[in-house]
């Protein structure tokens, strides 16, 4: 296996402050646990099952210098409707989810198709860490250190044909394990898609880890997309199928409410959601009195990705 990037344990490059924070968090966790018998009922996850550490060097060139959110915030506050519509639901409801064994079906306009185990998928990939901003369509944001590999490096292995104009991703459908799928809040399974040039862009990322450890269930284990210049709902989780298509896929939120959520979903402060403003965002973790921050076009990644959309009316293709 070729390996140009020196392998450094994430613990060596994570700023010490973050680790101290985490130790304090642990201490706080124990305090809560101790008091728990007195009737505490926090909705936060209990200590997660031991997640395997991953070895990956940080890709500094694409990583933001913003301070990452705490592991606690990232893993107890997110949208993952397969495990409930509340943002603290996934941490609780995904606890017993089984991300192994796992396989991904590849089909559509590609030469290499079939069913691949997660191990098949991971074997040739060199893992790296990327600290990306994440901007939710609900106008909050986080900074997250993901571990994974570029989406392009994965998709190229399947040799998409010239007819492949888009790539579609599908989440596992398993209402037994994913209680949220028992309610018709969205059409299941969750589907997302990218235009081929978006998918092949070097910033598009496939994550298998978080904070130098295997991805926890509530964050989309074992395999999730991260497209940092788009609203969070594009980042489809627990992927079981990758299909190359000629037609633009219909993504779940577009199916649910086409007037509010589009296919592209690029972060854009100039195009409001019909019911709320997208001009500013609240960075999670700032405490009670933190000021909202201005939202940047393409979530601050405009220099890298704006050219993908030159000539497109971004009001129309929201």
């Amino acid at each position: 296996m070729k390996n140009h990037i020196p392998r450094i344990a994430s613990s060596e490059i994570t700023p010490e402050g973050v680790y101290l924070d985490r130790r304090q968090l642990l201490a706080a966790g124990f305090a809560t646990a101790a008091l728990g018998t007195l009737g505490a009922s926090t909705t936060l996850a209990a200590s997660p099952p031991a997640l395997a550490p991953l070895t990956a060097a940080r890709n500094q060139a694409v990583s933001t210098s913003d301070a990452p959110n705490s592991y606690e915030d990232i893993t107890t506050y997110n949208n993952y409707y397969e495990f409930g519509t509340g943002k603290s639901d996934p941490a609780v409801e995904a606890r017993d989810f089984k991300p192994t064994p796992w396989s991904v079906t590849v089909d559509g306009e590609a030469d290499v198709k079939g069913k691949f185990t997660l191990e098949d998928i991971l074997k040739p990939q060199v893992l790296e860490e990327r600290v990306y901003r994440l901007r939710c369509v609900e106008a909050w944001s986080m900074v997250i250190p993901w571990t994974g590999f570029s989406l392009a490096s994965l998709l190229q292995r399947f040799k998409p044909t010239s007819k492949a104009k888009y790539v579609e991703f599908t989440t596992l459908l398993d209402p037994k394990q994913m209680p949220g799928q028992r309610d018709a809040v969205l059409r299941w399974p969750y589907v997302e898609g990218l235009r081929m040039d978006e998918a092949m862009h070097p910033l598009a990322f496939m994550a298998v880890g978080l904070y130098g450890k295997t991805l926890p269930n509530q964050s989309g284990a074992p395999l999730r997309l991260v497209v940092p210049w788009k609203y969070g709902f594009k980042n489809i989780k627990a992927i079981v199928r990758i299909r190359f298509t000629e037609q633009q896929p219909r993504n779940s939120w577009q199916i649910a409410a086409a007037s509010e959520y589009g296919f592209f979903a690029n972060v854009n402060p100039a195009v409001d959601h019909p019911r709320w403003s997208q001009a500013t965002e609240r960075r999670i973790g700032g405490g009670l009195l933190a000021k909202r921050a201005a939202t940047l076009p393409f979530n601050g990644y405009a220099d890298q990705v704006a050219s993908l959309y030159s000539g497109m009316d971004l009001r129309r293709y929201y």
Partner: protein, 216 residues
């Protein structure tokens, strides 16, 4: 202790305490966040601002519906003392609605008046929320016994605004959710039942015009 005294010295303080519980939980949550206490039964989570807005909003709406439940409950149980809770419940609803607005305007929007103004004008769910809050003000102001006496029948007419503003509150709730409308629909249903009861009562020919409650 006769039943009125019992009501005044036991039942009413208990209801007062119950109404204050959500506020107490929120204060404890804030204290934990600020590191003042280590333990809070309600953890404000990763996005405390949004959590506070939602907790105040839903408590205000719950209290509006409970206020509207007083009359049917009295009619069903025949326990007339219940009417003496109505003012307190309504004022608590007002309190939580004001806190809801304060959390939004101060914690969320940083008192940026231009942004708040733009939201009120541009976002229908905020427009109707604001309308509901404004309607609550005259009701709170005229809730004193003196005002009731002074306004007489006009008081009853004025206080019918509660139906309109509660409907707006439910609508506001319905409009601000992203997709999962099950909870707002439950509120629509509860409000509908409360209103249907009133209509049914009137049709039964037993309709007694709402009374100005005597001084409590």
């Amino acid at each position: 202790m006769n039943s009125t005294r019992q009501f005044r010295f036991i039942f009413k303080p208990l209801v007062f305490a119950a109404c204050a519980i959500p506020a107490g939980l929120m204060v404890l949550g804030i204290m934990k966040l600020q590191g003042i206490t280590e333990f809070a039964p309600m953890d404000l989570g990763a996005d405390p601002v949004s959590r506070l807005i939602h907790a105040c909003g839903i408590t205000a709406l719950n209290l509006l519906l409970i206020t509207l439940l007083v009359t049917p409950a009295r009619q069903i149980s025949g326990w007339n003392n219940l009417i003496r809770l109505r003012r307190m419940l309504g004022l608590f609803a007002f309190f939580y609605a004001v806190m809801h607005f304060t959390c939004y305007a101060w914690l969320d929007q940083g008192l940026d008046l231009a942004a708040i103004g733009a939201d009120i004008v541009k976002r229908p769910y905020i427009t109707i929320g604001m309308a509901a809050l404004l309607m609550l003000i005259p009701l709170a102001v005229t809730s004193t016994s003196g005002m009731m006496r002074r306004l007489g029948r006009k008081w009853i007419k004025l206080h019918r605004l509660i139906y309109v503003l509660t409907a707006l509150g439910v609508w506001h709730f319905y409009w601000q959710v992203k997709k999962d409308i099950r909870e707002p629909l439950l509120y629509v249903a509860m409000f509908a039942v409360l209103m249907a009861w009133r209509i049914g009562w009137r049709f039964k020919g037993k309709f007694v015009p709402a009374r100005v409650p005597e001084k409590t």
